[in-house]
Symmetry: C2
Subunit: 317 residues, 2 copies
C-alpha cells in the first residue's frame, strides 16, 4: 500500500527487561507505573483522587476498561471529558504519560449485574458469574496495556475515592511483589451521630484450616467466596486487623502475609504478571478473580502482603 511513497523506517524498539527496575525507590529510578481501572460507573471523587497522586504523572500510564452497557457508555463519555481536560488544559505536571480506554464485550447474560446495586452485587448466588466476568475484564485490560517498560501495575477500582497522595511511593517502599492497603468505607453512624468508617473489602485474607477443609470437599467447579454467612471460612480477614487510630503499637506500615487479595487497590510488580499470574475466570484452587490471582502468583513463587493500618476508602453508594 506504500508503493511509490517514501516512508520513514518503522520503529524498532529494543527493550532489555533486565534494565527495567522495580524497586522500593521507584521515583528515584524513574520507574513506569501502569494504573489499571475496570470502570462500570464514573465517579468524580475517584478522578479527583487520581489527579492528587503525587507520583510524577509523566511516569504514569492509565488504562481503563468499561462495559458496553448504557451505563458504561455514559461513564466512557464522562471519563473522556475529564481526560481531555487534564491532558490538554491542566498544568503539565497533572498530565499522564498516556491513557488507554478499552471497551469490553459484556456477556449479555451478565448485563443485569452491571446495573445492580451494592446489595444485589454482593449476593452469593451472583458471585461466580460476576467475578468470572470481572476476571476477564481485568485480564483484557492487563494483556492489552502492560508494556516492556512497565515496572509496577497498580490496580485501582473506580469507586476507590480516597487514598493518601503518596499511595504509590508508600506501597512500593515495601518492595513486595504484591501489596495491598486496607479498603474501608466512610458512613454516617446514626448511633454516635458522627461520620465513622467500617471495613469494606473482605477479599484480603489469611487462609484457615476450615477454609482448606471446605475447599477439599468441593467439586471441581465450586468456588469458595469470602464474607458470606452461608460459608463460614474462619479465615483471618485483614479488614478486621486494623488497629484503632492512637491504639498502642499501631504502625501504619505493619505488614501481614495474605493468601487472598482484593482488587480495590493492589500494587503488583510487573514481573509477577509477566510470569503469567493473571485473574482466573474459572475456579483455580476453588478461588476466582483477584483471590485466584494471589493463589496463582503464590504458585509462581510470589508472595502477597497487606497493610492493615494503611487505609484507602471505597465510595458509599
Amino acid at each position: 500500500s506504500a508503493a511509490g511513497t517514501k516512508l520513514k523506517p518503522p520503529p524498532v524498539t529494543r527493550y532489555n527487561l533486565n534494565n527495567v527496575t522495580t524497586t522500593s525507590r521507584p521515583l528515584e529510578n524513574r520507574e513506569n507505573i501502569l494504573i489499571l481501572t475496570p470502570m462500570a460507573r464514573f465517579n468524580q471523587a475517584y478522578w479527583d483522587n487520581l489527579l492528587r497522586l503525587s507520583y510524577p504523572h509523566e511516569l504514569i500510564t492509565l488504562g481503563f476498561i468499561l462495559p458496553r452497557t448504557k451505563e458504561g457508555n455514559l461513564a466512557t463519555r464522562e471519563l473522556q471529558t475529564r481526560i481531555a481536560k487534564t491532558q490538554t488544559q491542566s498544568p503539565e505536571r497533572d498530565r499522564f504519560k498516556s491513557i488507554i480506554i478499552l471497551r469490553e464485550d459484556l456477556d449479555p447474560s451478565l448485563y443485569p449485574l452491571a446495573t445492580q446495586d451494592e446489595h444485589e452485587r454482593h449476593k452469593l448466588a451472583n458471585q461466580k458469574a460476576r467475578r468470572s466476568a470481572m476476571a476477564k475484564a481485568r485480564n483484557s485490560l492487563l494483556f492489552s496495556t502492560l508494556g516492556p517498560s512497565t515496572s509496577w501495575v497498580l490496580w485501582l477500582d473506580a469507586d476507590v475515592v480516597e487514598t493518601p497522595p503518596t499511595l504509590i511511593q508508600d506501597l512500593a517502599q515495601h518492595d513486595k511483589p504484591i501489596i495491598t492497603p486496607n479498603c474501608f468505607q466512610r458512613y454516617y453512624n446514626s448511633k454516635t451521630k458522627t461520620m465513622d468508617e467500617r471495613p469494606y473489602d473482605f477479599n484480603n485474607w489469611i487462609d484457615s484450616d476450615t477454609a482448606r477443609e471446605l475447599a477439599s470437599k468441593m467439586g471441581p467447579e465450586e468456588v469458595l467466596f469470602e464474607g458470606y454467612a452461608e460459608m463460614a471460612t474462619l479465615r483471618t480477614l485483614m479488614a478486621y486487623l486494623a488497629k484503632e487510630d492512637g491504639e498502642e503499637g499501631r504502625d501504619l506500615h505493619e505488614e501481614v502475609p495474605l493468601d487472598g487479595v482484593g482488587g480495590a487497590a493492589l500494587m503488583v510488580k510487573a514481573d509477577v504478571h509477566r510470569d503469567g499470574a493473571m485473574f482466573p475466570a474459572f475456579p483455580f484452587y476453588h478461588l476466582i478473580e483477584t483471590e485466584g490471582f494471589a493463589r496463582m502468583a503464590k504458585r509462581l513463587g510470589w508472595e502477597a502482603v497487606g497493610l492493615p493500618n494503611y487505609k484507602v476508602y471505597h465510595y458509599n453508594e
Copy 2:
C-alpha cells in the same frame, strides 16, 4: 521535570476492543498480527522464511525474547543486524510495523539447558524445569507485547525454517480461536538415500482414556509429558495423522480437534489470550507450557484445532 518547558500534550489513545476484528479474512480487514518468537539461537533460515511471509509486513509486529546466556547474547546481535538491514535498507514492503526485542532473566539453575543439544533437551528428566522456564519466557513476551489493536498472535519458534508464505492467511481462513499446522523435520534418509521428512512436534494431541487415567493417579506436582516411552499415554498424535502426498482423500485443510498443542507454529485469536489464557509454568491439570495453554483456553471456552496435512518444518541440527 518539565517545568518551564512547553510539552505537547501526552498521547490519549482510545481503543474500542469491539472494533478490532479477528476474522477469516484478516487481509481484507487489515488486521494486526503479532508474531512472537522465543529465541535461544539465531537461525538464518528462520529469518529468511519470516521475510517471505506474504501477509502485509506493515500489519505485522515482531516480538522476540532471548535468554541472557552467551548464546543468547550472540543471537541478539545477529538478530539486530538482520533487523537493522530489513527495516532500513530493504524494500518498504519487507519492513515490519514494529519490532520489540526482550531479554529474559534466565534462572541460573537452567543455564545448562539452553546450550543442550536436541537429545539432552528432550530427556524426560529435564522436561519439567525446561518447559516451566519456556512458559515464563512465553508469558513475559506475550504480556509485554500484546496491544489493544492486536487481532491475532502467531507463535513461531526460532527453529521453524520453512512454512508456506501464505501461512497467516491459510491459518486465519479457518476462523478458529487456536489453530496449528503439523510440524515436520526434513532429514537425509540413509536407507532410501534421498531427502525425506518425519514428524517432529509431538505436543499436538488428542487426549486418551489412558492419559486421563494416568493423570488422575498423579500427585499435584506431577506433569504428564508426551512422546516418552516411559509414559505411554496412548494419546492420538497429530504428527502421525498426516496423509501421504497424493494419498486418496488428502485435504490440505482437514481439521482435527486438539486437546494439547505445541508452540512451533501456533495461531491464536488475541481474545483467547486477553481472557487470561497463558502458558502455565506450573502443572495445570498435569500439563505445562503450550499443552497447559490449550487446557486453560478450553477452561475458558476456546477450542483448539490442528491441520494434520498442512506442514511446517523444523530445523535439523
